[in-house]
Amino acid sequence: MMLLELIVRLALWLLLAPLLPGIINKVKAWVAGRRGPPVLQLYYDLARLWRKGVVMSTLASPGFIIGPAVAWVAVAGAALLLPLGAAGSLVGFRGDMLMLLYLLALARFCTSWAALETGSAFEGMGAAREVSYAVLAEAALIAAMLSLCVQTGSTALATMLAPSGGAGAVLLAAGLFLVLLAENCRVPFDDPNTHLELTMIHEVMVLDHSGPPLAVLLHCATMKLLLFALLLTQAVLPIGRLSEPANATVLAGGVLLAMVGVGLVESLLARLAFRRVPLFLVTAFLLCLFALLMAWKGGRA
């Protein structure tokens, strides 16, 4: 039974995740008055990459390919820890939210490692930015988790996410949305469209990857995006109080809304100058911190 559930969940995660960048691109195209690429474009890209050969730098060790694989497993593991509304989580235990955060950290270590394999200054730059900005993002995430934990009196994701974000929900939503943008390297922190500039994070780290490892890295990034969108939706909306069908609809609607939000931000905002990025992340941290203070002062959910 558990195995069946595992397979269904994993299939859902793996199959639905690449849809999100398609939605964002559609929104961006719509705002700009273009037709834009098909929503399923990333599926085609992944299928094409999966069939292609691999070019590896002469300097790179096997870690160049092991890194993306481990990162993918880590993000998939984190995804399976996240409860899905009324369906609850697959393996929920006390403290699983810390495991989730640290699995994302493991993925970060592995992608940075794979980027540094090539000895290229561009990729070194990207990896350095990735791990440095994560410090502030991690502080914001822990503050957000603490606020949920204080509010519900629990340390298991399933019970933490069931009630709504309470009084601080708006603050928490804003903070988590900023963290979502930063952790998934979207505008205004990073620009997923450029390739050849000195100002990128994620895209510059995968410059030298090709073929199946690149496909795995891209898929891993979309799973991470879906994970953050789901986390945001469940942290803010009172999912636990809804009936089961309404639950699934609300979850899907929340993710869709988050993606439309990302698309709008990307259409309307320019990328920040790099020295402003920490400031923005500190803002995210402060928003989460205020949500924590409100949770501390407010009633228990």
Binding site: W50, G53, V54, V55, M56, S57, T58, L59, A60, S61, P62, G63, I65, I66, P68, A69, V70, V73, A74, G77, L81, V91, F93, R94, G95, D96, L98, M99, Y102, A105, L106, F109, W113, L116, E117, T118, G119, S120, A121, F122, G124, A128, R129, V131, S132, V135, A137, E138, A139, M145, L146, C149, V150, T152, G153, T155, D208, P213, L292, R300
Partner: protein, 649 residues
């Protein structure tokens, strides 16, 4: 065999090792390994039976009867000492051999066994006087080991600094044990939990043991000593010797009552120590100095956990306190295992390439695949990433913090800032160790020496493999080590009898195990798929740049620059920059150094002022009699004036 017999055997073989160490390297190694095996067997006996071993004799040393005791807490540290002592001795056989160091290698062997013996005695002795004697001998043996390579000036300097700082700490311990003996009327140590009047002594213990443990800001001796010592010595110092400070804190916070603020103080000091330690580590460009600062971070985590456990104990023995204590005790083992592994790895790098400067290394994985993969495993563990051991203990401590915060009891809200500080420290640790592993082992070799590097032999790999195995075992099957943790926490606080491991730990280890297997399977699968599709080697693409050179790679300073820049107020880096000028620039330099802020910016200026003041005062004493008579007369006149003006003598 009983624990007593095993300990006697360990004692005898260490003594024999001390005697034979000078001449016979092989016999010495045999004796040390026997001692390590018997020492860990004694610890395992205590864990398995759950009963503490105690031995009293009428034989007196320094007027005090011998009293030895091995309970859960000391057995935990004894096991760590045995494993790292034995492993380091084996490592030294190839790393510090007689052929290359005919003068210092024999001395090193003798000191190694005496250091192990003295640390063992510290753990066993249950008498304040004997504790102090063993502590002092341990400090001195460590000094001789640190300065094995005493021809080099910086080694001597760091040795003296260590000795001075260590004695500063010992001074506090003299006061601690002396006052304790005066108040209780005997030097005997043991549980005195109901004597509330003894609780202020905790602050003395914190200062004394804090210096040895290397808690920020008492860590001044630690970075230079660990960086300049031979790597096997650094491993033992970082893995075990600084844990003796942690042992003292755990031991006496368990046996003696503590003030109400002690838990808060430890929690705050620990989390600040964790954050600042790792910030310093990130900014280092010397591989071993980086590892040394990281010890400051980990000791911080241990102290924060202990502080939380004290808070839990003060609040009706809350379950979250027990979780935090379990995390603290496990972290003692975990840090010992991965830090020694990393120092052994750094030793292999120094051995192969002859430098600790990360900017002169690079691309070593090709020449040293074993060291590279084991060092990376250590990096993953120290960054607290699942599925390795560092994560398990940090997770337990976090869980304690979160459970405490979830209660929403008014004073416990203050555990939230430490939780956030520790999270930031964890993310910085990831940045720091991604840098350490990648700059040293990946990319292209930055110098000729790095290009010519060679892999170490079996004696160097063996101990590293053993420690990597320990890291994996503690990460994947933490439940197997639970009896040790349970026995130690029972010894720390007898009312905490929960021998059952907390339920989430079982779920956690299951998830960790699944993850590890899956990661392996997917990695193999992806590698095969890549090979099946056709794997071609080519120049690093680098946005189409056709002639990359090794010097164009990101360096350690560049990688850390962004995050270290946020800590400029603390790190105060010194820069020397000569920009290239003119059409054909001849020379350009850029040197950056991160000084030890507390030592160089706080302590040294104060010490200089004190010296200047004392030099000024010394002018008063010159041996000329008339002047002394003048002082007397002036003094008498001043006194007279004082009385005349109405003062009371």
């Amino acid at each position: 065999m009983s624990a007593g017999a095993l300990l006697l055997l360990a004692l005898v073989s260490l003594t024999l090792a001390m005697l034979t160490g000078g001449r016979f390297a092989r016999t010495w190694l045999g004796f040390v390994l026997v001692a390590a095996a018997t020492g860990s067997a004694a610890a395992v006996t205590v864990f398995a039976t759950g009963a503490e071993w105690e031995w009293q004799s009428d034989f007196r040393v320094g007027g005090e009867a011998l009293h030895l005791r091995l309970d859960g807490v000391s057995a935990l540290f004894l096991a760590l000492l045995s494993v790292l002592g034995g492993g380091g001795a084996a490592y030294a056989r190839e790393y510090w051999p007689d052929e290359h160091y005919p003068d210092s290698a024999p001395r090193g062997r003798a000191c190694w066994s005496s250091l192990m013996l003295c640390m063992g005695l510290v753990l066993l002795s249950s008498n304040g006087l004997h504790f102090l004697i063993a502590w002092e001998l341990f400090a001195v043996s460590a000094f001789f080991l640190l300065t094995l390579d005493r021809q080099r000036r910086e080694v001597r300097q760091s040795g003296w600094l260590y000795l001075a700082a260590s004695h500063g700490g010992t001074l506090c311990l003299f006061a601690f044990f002396g006052t304790l003996a005066a108040r209780t009327g005997s030097w005997e140590l043991g549980p005195l939990r109901e004597r509330a009047d003894l609780s202020p002594l905790f602050w003395l213990a914190l200062a004394g043991f804090g210096v040895k443990a290397g808690l920020f800001p008492l860590h001044i001796w630690l970075p230079s000593a660990h960086a300049n010592a031979p790597s096997h010595v650094s491993a033992l110092m970082s893995g075990v010797a600084i844990k003796m400070g942690a042992y003292g804190l755990v031991r006496f916070s368990g046996w003696l009552p503590v003030p109400a603020e002690a838990g808060w103080a430890l929690l705050l000091l620990g989390s600040v120590s964790a954050l600042f330690g790792i910030a310093f580590a990130l900014a280092q460009s010397d591989l071993k100095r980086l590892l040394a600062y990281c010890s400051v971070e980990n000791i911080g985590i241990i102290c924060a956990g202990l502080g939380l456990a004290l808070l839990g104990a003060a609040r009706h023995h809350a379950a979250w306190g027990q979780l935090a204590l379990a995390g603290t005790l496990l972290h003692v083992w975990n840090h010992g295992a991965f830090k020694a592994l990393l120092f052994f790895g750094a030793g292999s790098v120094v051995h192969a390439a002859g430098t600790r400067e990360m900017s002169r290394l690079g691309g070593l994985w090709r020449a040293m695949p074993w060291t590279a993969s084991l060092f990376t495993l250590g990096c993953l563990a120290v960054a607290g990433l699942p599925p390795l051991n560092g994560f398990v203990s940090e997770w337990l401590i976090y869980l304690g913090l979160f459970d405490g915060a979830a209660l929403r009891a008014a004073p416990l809200g203050a555990v939230m800032p430490p939780a956030i500080l520790l999270a930031a420290a964890g993310a910085l640790a990831l940045a720091c160790f991604a840098k350490a592993a990648a700059i040293v082992f990946l990319g292209a070799p930055r110098t000729k020496a790095a290009e010519r590097a060679h892999e170490g032999g079996a004696w160097m790999h063996g101990p590293m493999l053993l420690l990597a195995g320990v890291c994996l075992a503690l990460g994947l099957a933490p439940l197997a080590f639970w009896p040790a943790v349970a026995s130690a926490s029972r010894a720390w606080n007898p009312t905490w009898v929960a021998s059952e491991p907390p339920a989430p730990l079982a779920a956690l280890s299951l998830v960790q195990l699944t993850l590890a297997c899956l990661a392996g399977a997917v990695a193999v699968g992806l590698w095969r798929k890549a090979c099946a599709n056709g794997l071609r080697r080519g120049l690093t693409w680098d946005c189409g740049y056709a002639r990359p050179t090794a010097r164009m790679q990101y360096t350690s300073g560049a990688f850390a620059g962004l995050a270290a820049g946020w800590f400029t107020w603390l790190l105060r880096p010194e820069r020397l920059l000569h920009r290239p000028r003119g059409l054909l620039p001849a020379r350009a330099t850029h040197i950056e150094r991160v000084p030890e802020t507390v030592l160089e910016r706080v302590l040294t200026p104060v010490a200089k002022q004190v010296l200047r003041a004392s030099t000024a005062t010394r002018r008063l004493q010159h041996g000329r009699l008339p002047a002394y008579i003048l002082y007397l007369v002036a003094g008498l006149c001043a006194l007279g004036l004082f009385v005349l003006l109405g003062g009371r003598p």
